[in-house]
């Protein structure tokens, strides 16, 4: 078994989220329509389809009519249709319902949903159409030949912490594909390599992200109606932090609550999970959860740089779709319909490539053209400057947004730049306002009824990682990590991590070091995004590892 096995396929799709599944489904449909053959192989790192999927979610569900024209719409496992949609401004104890919606945030006709459930459904449809889906396999290497992408390889398993082969060593499988579609979701670890290798971000804005923490609750009858949704602004965020909360009423007395915060915040001690807990204590929020029970917890990042942050989406032999490409529209933070759309456009492009037996950029650049002509462009272009405007605070952001509304998105300053989230963090001694712990003094004792510490929340994710493997979180430069991250920034990883992976330990002599509990990792990738200095690299762990989201 020392030889690496090779599998050949026409199309390899990496990632079983909405974009990857949409690519698979639509390509299978088009191939069938024109009576053409093509092997489509989809590989997903979660133990099953949906286990790594998390979204709010309020979805523009019409997109599924486009994707699955032959299917009865009622068959799609959506949750409640949005019945009321309210934007609320929160203060510490108070709340003010806004009499209007923030522009571009109207949710009329949309549906609440568990995106994980939808993905399970889409996977079933894809399999029916002949797509081969293999969950539980991680891909950690892109295969190149003569400057082209020629496929990818699954991770070698049976390695110990140091990477030494153990008795149960099993080399990964080489998947040679004519076309590889990167659908890994937010901050894809392979897409990141691809973007770097081919300099795909050249001339574009850096991608910026936000982190969302979400809990699913089971609440007493009457706390909230299915389809009743709220978006909150304000508390507990201050003028330097961009983001907001959501409360989505679901069927069967379930409610999804969450807080999403832009990772361009300055305070190195800011903690999104803990801010989320504080947010729940506002009476306007806590009333929905009263008497209820936590069912699930999860976290994920989402790319919100917008139009100008989208990288070049094709190279010879490869396309990027969905969150990996940065298809999320602001300020509504919606990406599912764009993910599906981009998947379908990638499928059309792939079909052309198969038909012409040409998988080079010559054909693949048509993907970008299709996107420019699509709803993705229509959704993203008018708000192309939206998010950048807020990176210097809410007041300036509101000003920018105002000018953008008048000018159709351009604003008075043309293309606004972004800076990397990791560079937005300030050093401890540069911070001009109260650090997180002081701001919320007395509010960070969690009662385990309404509010939960990270460790408890992590218990509600079902997360699991094989003990024997190369740690999947890698401190790029341990020396500067200590001098920069720990000494100057106070080890922000211990705060920004959504799952208590990073622990700052101080020994008797006062020496501090970061300890990594990789087994807790929810694959949100905040550490890869937000670590100052030389940073942290998030790599894929063994297949089937990670959270076990059920209804997120």
């Amino acid at each position: 078994m020392s030889n690496v096995d090779t599998v050949k396929t026409d199309i390899l799709i990496i990632g079983g989220g909405p974009s990857g599944l949409a690519t698979a489904i639509h390509l299978a449909d088009v191939l069938k329509q024109y009576d053409k053959k093509g092997r489509i192989l989809l590989v997903e790192k979660g133990s099953s389809i949906g286990s790594h999927i998390l979204s709010g979610a309020v979805i523009k569900a019409d997109i599924f009519k486009t994707l699955l024209p032959d299917v009865d719409f009622n068959e799609i496992p959506l949750n409640a249709k949005v019945s009321s949609d309210t934007t609320v401004l929160l203060s510490e104890k108070g709340s003010l319902k806004l009499p209007f919606h923030v522009p571009y945030m109207n949710n009329n006709g949309n549906y609440t949903a568990s995106l994980g459930q939808i993905c399970r459904y889409l996977a079933k449809k894809a399999e029916e159409k002949g797509v081969e889906i293999y969950p539980g396999f991680s891909i950690n290497e892109i295969l190149y030949q003569d400057g082209k992408v020629i496929g990818a390889k699954t991770i070698d398993t049976g390695l110990d912490h140091h990477g030494r082969q153990m008795d149960n060593y099993q080399p990964g499988t080489r998947i040679e594909a004519k076309l590889t579609i990167f659908a890994e979701g937010t901050r894809g670890s392979l897409a990141k390599q691809l973007i770097k290798k081919y300099d795909l971000q050249k001339g574009r804005n850096e991608q910026i992200y936000s982190l969302g923490c979400k809990e699913l609750w089971s609440v007493p009858e009457g706390n909230i109606k299915p389809g009743e949704i709220y978006h909150t602004m304000g508390y507990p965020l201050n003028m330097h932090e961009f983001g907001g909360g959501f409360v989505y009423g679901l069927n069967d007395n379930k409610v999804a609550v969450g807080l999403v915060v832009g990772l361009d915040y300055q305070d190195p001690t800011f903690d999104v999970h803990d801010a989320f807990q504080v947010w729940k204590t506002n009476p306007f929020i806590s009333k929905f959860l009263k008497g209820g029970k936590l069912v699930e917890y999860g976290a994920k990042t989402l790319p919100e740089g917008g139009y100008y942050s989208i990288p070049k989406l094709y190279v010879d032999g490869a396309l990027i779709v969905g969150d990996s490409a940065g298809f999320v529209t602001m300020p509504a933070l919606k990406g599912v319909h764009l993910a599906v759309t981009s998947g379908m456009l990638a499928a059309k492009t792939a079909f052309r490539a198969i038909s012409n037996n040409d998988f080079s950029e010559v054909i693949l650049r048509g993907y970008e053209t299709l996107i420019e002509e699509s709803a993705i462009y229509k959704d993203m272009y008018p708000v192309r400057n939206f998010r950048q405007g807020f990176s210097k605070g809410l007041i300036l952001g509101a000003f920018h947004f105002g000018t953008q509304l008048i000018t159709g998105g351009a604003g008075f300053f043309g293309k606004l730049k972004t800076e990397l989230d990791s560079e937005a963090t300030k050093k401890l001694d540069e911070l001009t306002f109260k650090p997180f712990k002081e701001r919320f003094k007395g509010k960070l004792e969690f009662d385990k009824v309404l509010t939960f510490d990270k460790a408890t929340d992590v218990y509600f994710t079902g997360v699991n990682h094989d003990e024997q493997q190369i740690p999947h979180l890698h401190i790029n430069n341990p020396a500067t990590y200590e001098t920069v991250n720990i000494k100057q920034y106070g080890a922000p990883s211990q705060f920004f991590c959504s799952a208590e992976v990073y622990e700052l330990h101080t020994d008797k002599q006062g020496h501090q070091e970061i300890r990594i509990h990789a087994e807790n990792c929810l694959h949100c990738k905040t550490c890869d995004i937000k670590s100052p200095g030389d940073g942290i690299t998030w790599m894929v762990p063994n297949g089937g590892n990670g959270p076990e989201f059920q209804n997120m």
Partner: protein, 647 residues
Amino acid sequence: MALTIISLIKQVPLPSEMRMGDDGLMDRTKAKSIINIDCQFGLEAGLQLKKQYPDAKMIVCSMGPPSFEVALRTAISMGYDEAYLLSDRKLGGSDTYATGLAISTMLKHLGFTKDAKEPFIVLAGRQTSDGDTAHVPSQVAENLGIPQATFVESIKADGQGNVIAKRIIEGGYQLMKLPMPCTISLTPTGVPPRKPSLVGAIKARSLPITVFGIDDIGLGTEKIGINGSPTIVANVINLVSERAPVIMSEGHTDTVMVDSLITNFKKGRNILEKKEKVEKKILEKPEFPFFDNRNGAKGILTWAEVTNGKISRPSIELLTPARKLAEQLGNDTKIMTLLIGKNVKALAPTLFEHGSDEVIVVENDKLEEYLVLPFSSIFAQVIKERNPEIVLFGATTSGRELAPRIGVKTGSGVTADCTGLEIGEYINRKEKIINKPILHSRRPTYGESKLATILGFVYPQISTARAGTFEVPPREKGRTGLLSVFIPKLVEKDFVVEILKTERDEGVLQNLFEADVIVSGGRGTTGDGLKLVKKLAEELKLQGVKAEWACSRVVVDEGVAEYAHQIGQTGKTVRPKVYIAVGISGAIQHIAGMKESEKIIAIDHNPKAFIFHYADFGIVGEYEDILPELIDRVKSGYTFGMDVVKN
């Protein structure tokens, strides 16, 4: 000469601690299924063996509902070639006896008989997580008439048609040489199961699985299913953890944390408020006639296991339930004890003094070390001659393979690893009779979460009793009994298995049973080779405390400690006054081996470690920070409130 490697697997629900359904409760309907962990180790052992036999054919077999195909496909994706499933509604409710019979019938149908021309080896997991009996491998071996080794950690071929198996025994291990064909059951301590490969998964996706019904393999219905099985499950109750919630130490420095622990420890552990037991509804007892189906069987036969020239402790413990059962049966029921070995007659008085009425001695130079083939043959011959109604074994690694092998010979079902044995009755509503007297064997199952009562209707009724559960009966100096000698018929084939080496450290075992404080290290403490764990135990000893160090399975796996120190192996339950678990996550086997300790302190860096559910006091922290602090305290006289014996 192509070798065939056959793995027997079972699909089981994911252990309950892994998953919660809606509202935090285990939802069995949605519970994910996995290949039983031990069976996964069996699969891997097969793949390891394939490294020596690259041409070997890899076959995986299972018995169960059609949904078990998922497990078979997983095995294919790990590297197996063919899959067979025995699936028939008529098999529903089969006990281990019936299961062993059905599986061996399928194997014979596939051509794997003891006289097969081509060599083969049957691999299985030691036991399943939803049954925990460890019977089926032995029963399959006996039904096929081939040698066996159970509780095996690893296997290697010697290149001459034999397998060298490393078998775990109490306090150590044995290396044994078995000719093929043979059956091997694997403990989850060998090479961990590999992950499926993508290329394997692609193969598994389309590979046809052969599904047999009982008619296909020529298996009748007389001895299978709920009606054909010699035993039934009469009753199952939930076992609720009796541990009150853990008291966690608080503080920001290691010193404060340890201070907090010591203060908490002094205050005492949380006590669960005993809920008033709900009055059980007494079912009206029908007026059926009593029926005694013993058919002349009488007396209790026990096995006196000899290790290192002494009667093993579990064999002496066994005389406690044996005496109780004899008294409940009345009518001058005798306890007979079978003592097999080389020059063992001198050990008989010990047995008399602890309660045996008769000691049946079998002496033979070739029987110095236990071997399942001759021992099971001797037992069958003694049972035939004496016709006992009950046969009891200590649930040691030997007892647990010997009993089911004998059971196949006598047609009896076996109840494994019992924690309660009692004489009762059974209301047989179908036949409108009350069977009485009948042995009620109680055993924990489903990962110690349930207590099942098993009844056997074929005589002798056979049970194995968990070591450490029953007290050693008081020794009555000078008590004596009938000493008889039995000459068995043994054939050469009974000795085809050779013991190459026995490594056993009984001293440590004894110390662990008698220690007041056990300091136990897990995977988290191997960084320094268990130095700090040993040091803490050492310092306690220096203070005059009866202390011993121990470890979890993983530590032994990593070669850091010897087997004798492992807690959580079959047949060992320790009950110290204080058990300090350091860096132990709390695998269910480990918990089973230590949960009856008076007070449990857990130290682990992972606040959600399972061990904290079973601990009275907890510290979340790294062992290399907490232990030095604790060692300092012990050095200055802290002894966890233990009495101190000053020399």
